[in-house]
Amino acid sequence: MNSDVVLQLALQGFLMGGVYGLIALGLSLIFGVMKVINFAHGEMMVFAMFLSITLLLWGGLDPYLSLVIVAAVMFGVGYGIQRVFVNRILELPEAMQVLVLVGLGIIFENGTLMIWGGSDFSPKTSLALSSFRWGPVTVDVPRLIAFILAIVITLMVLLFLKKTNIGKSIRAAADNRYGALIIGAHINRIYGICFGIGAACVGAAGALLVPLMPAKATMGAPYTMVSFVIVILGGMGSLIGALIGGLIIGVAESLSTVFLPSSMKQVVSFTIMIVILLFKPQGLFGGKG
């Protein structure tokens, strides 16, 4: 295995890692604020992929443009889910929360199946097949765009949380729910918005993946798992941790094919997760744990 191949693999993994980071960002944000793990995350992403594909097939709208619409729709969906379902289970034991969210995942998956069927969808998009040589490596353009947009969206979310009033309320609510309530924050609205942002992030990630891989209604579950692994790696609730964790998992999975059979790729991510849980259970960027 020569160094060019290793470089190529690392680059591909790194670029994919940006998208992984964006997917995990939503999960981490929701967990950080509400202490609820969104087990419907991967399924929501697939739903968003299909929204984007529909806009492409019906309206001729490129996924990079429809991303905005898809993210907005997913924001609404997320907001609604929080107010209708998740808000009622915040005080319940974790095992019960899991049931509701896994149930939502099943509804999303089967809803997608009912609307779009079970086939692989990979419609033609303008940039799906473009790539260019850059020194010794080939750069896959849709992957590069996905990476750049994922990073931009991540930074925007971070800025939003730091600079705006709603962002500050979200962070306040994450820090201390009752404290935020006492000083008059609309806690239900804040939670709704927060879940909405999480859903919008994963929706945007879904749109970015459309030019990269065939979409299929039943492909969501592994993405819930991988974002869960990333969030554990980066630190539960840490947003920058989600991004870095995504990059690490992306590169690790890609490079693992140098010495492991491809079918063992996932072993690497789960091994990393177990090692982290053993030696740094709060994650790389986690606070007090």
């Binding site: 191949v5 079970g118 969808f121 080939t138 891989m213 065939p214 299929k216 492909m219 094919t257």
Partner: protein, 427 residues
């Protein structure tokens, strides 16, 4: 809210009395639900295909193939030797999982199925085959290639599809012909396969064939990836680094699309793709979505015989029922599977499993739409006349006509193209 909407739920005494009187009267007149003896009874056959899970395109098309045959038989008056008994096809979903396949089979046997048909996947076929053998119920495999399924010599298992060994014999013959006719030298081959039972079996059989026959190829890379994989960029990087002349992939619909796009984006130079025999390269979805990128892929695969009248008749009905779809190897064999069962029922003159099994053993079913001779089962239940054709996706303004048989010559619809035009040179 209006008042009349707020009624107590449930049934009051009067409604109950009225309804039960009516039901009683109807039962007395028609004899329902007592068994109706004068009408021809139904023969239950369980179809178990991967309708959801990672392979729904194929699962759905196979279920449709099974149904096409059952509907045809019923429309022509059912099983005549059994007083025109109609076939009732139970439609089951194995989700591409062994344990689900077995569970569904078990449920169908409980529901009174006299025979099972399915299930596309070799792993699932193994699971159902053991159950069928335990319960002594015939199981007709329409599609599933792994040699091991029939190797144990089960009495109740019959396979219409060619086994892996037949695939390789056919591939060897075609490869030899292509190399001689086109005067090309192929030295370096990269092999990929999906990591399910069939993918592994087919990949291993290819390696074994090359080794046993001392073919002058070097396998420079062998890559296995999980079923339902969503990213093959790293794998294609490795293929590119190995500099193969030829890529031999054992794929599935989703990964075939991923593979071809990555080969394009990473500019992997090849003389072509010749699949040792796998789905992924000929389904309407692949041909449509990949368009020009789908061209020139050769696939050594059991196929419909475009020149047989049986095919034309069945395919016409299939295309009418499901616009944009056509009978391919899987739906074609799914159709054949149910036809073989119906043929055996006709000769058995009974739905008794033992009689049906004996009739299946004596099958000599000529009137099927596939390339290959009549369906005849050997002592292990393998169809000795099953074989593969070489199909190639060729430019044609009509999407539905792009997949063409190119070898053997007697079934060929067009001459084949090899080496191919590089993926990025196709305008």
């Amino acid at each position: 809210m209006k008042e009349e909407q707020v009624k107590p739920q449930g049934i009051d005494r009067r409604t109950f009395l009225k309804t039960s009187a009516a039901v009683g009267a109807v039962t007395a007149i028609t004899g329902f639900p007592a068994i109706v003896r004068s009408q021809p009874k139904e023969i239950i056959i369980g179809s178990i295909q991967p309708v959801t899970g990672p392979l729904p395109d194929i699962g759905i098309s196979m279920q449709r193939g099974n149904k096409l045959a059952a509907d045809e038989i019923n429309a022509k008056g059912g099983i005549k030797s059994l007083g025109g008994a109609k076939i009732k096809l139970l439609l089951g979903d194995n989700e591409a999982k062994e344990e689900v396949g077995r569970l569904v089979a078990e449920r169908f046997l409980k529901d009174g199925a006299v025979c099972l048909v399915g299930p596309f996947l070799s792993g699932v076929a193994m699971a159902i085959a053991t159950l069928a053998e335990q319960r002594n119920i015939p199981f007709v495999i329409d599609v599933a290639a792994l040699d091991a399924i029939t190797a144990k010599g089960y009495k109740n298992v019959f396979r219409c599809f060619p086994k892996t060994e037949y695939f390789m014999t056919s591939l060897g013959r075609y490869l030899d012909q292509i190399i001689k006719e086109k005067k090309v030298t192929i030295k370096r081959i990269a092999l990929t396969n999906a990591g399910d039972a069939f993918g592994r079996g087919q990949g291993a059989a290819f390696l074994k064939y090359v080794k046993d026959h001392k073919l002058p190829f070097e396998i420079v890379e062998h890559i296995e990836y999980p079923l339902g994989v969503k990213d093959l960029s790293a794998e294609v990087t490795k293929i590119k680094a190995a500099k193969p002349d030829l890529l031999c992939p054992v794929a599935r619909p989703g990964d075939a699309k991923l593979l071809i796009r990555e080969l394009y984006k990473q500019r992997v130079e090849l003389m072509g793709i010749i699949s040792p025999g796998s789905p992924g390269w000929y389904e309407p979805e692949f041909v449509k979505d990949m368009d020009k990128l789908a061209y020139y892929v050769l696939d050594n695969v059991p196929w419909v015989n475009p020149k047989s009248s049986k095919f034309q008749d069945a395919n016409n009905r299939f295309e009418k029922l499901y616009p944009g779809k056509y009978l391919d190897t899987n739906s074609g064999y799914a159709y054949t599977g149910v036809m073989v069962i119906a043929d055996a029922l006709e000769r058995a003159k009974s739905t008794d499993p033992a009689a049906l099994r004996e009739a299946l053993r004596k099958t000599n079913y000529k009137d099927h739409p596939m390339v290959g001779g009549p369906v005849v089962f050997d002592e292990k239940g393998d169809n000795i006349n099953a074989t593969a054709a070489m199909v190639q996706v060729l430019p044609d303004p009509n999407m539905d006509d792009r997949v063409k048989v190119v070898l053997p010559k007697e079934a060929a619809q067009a001459p084949y193209v090899f080496p191919w035009k590089q993926l990025w040179d196709r305008g």
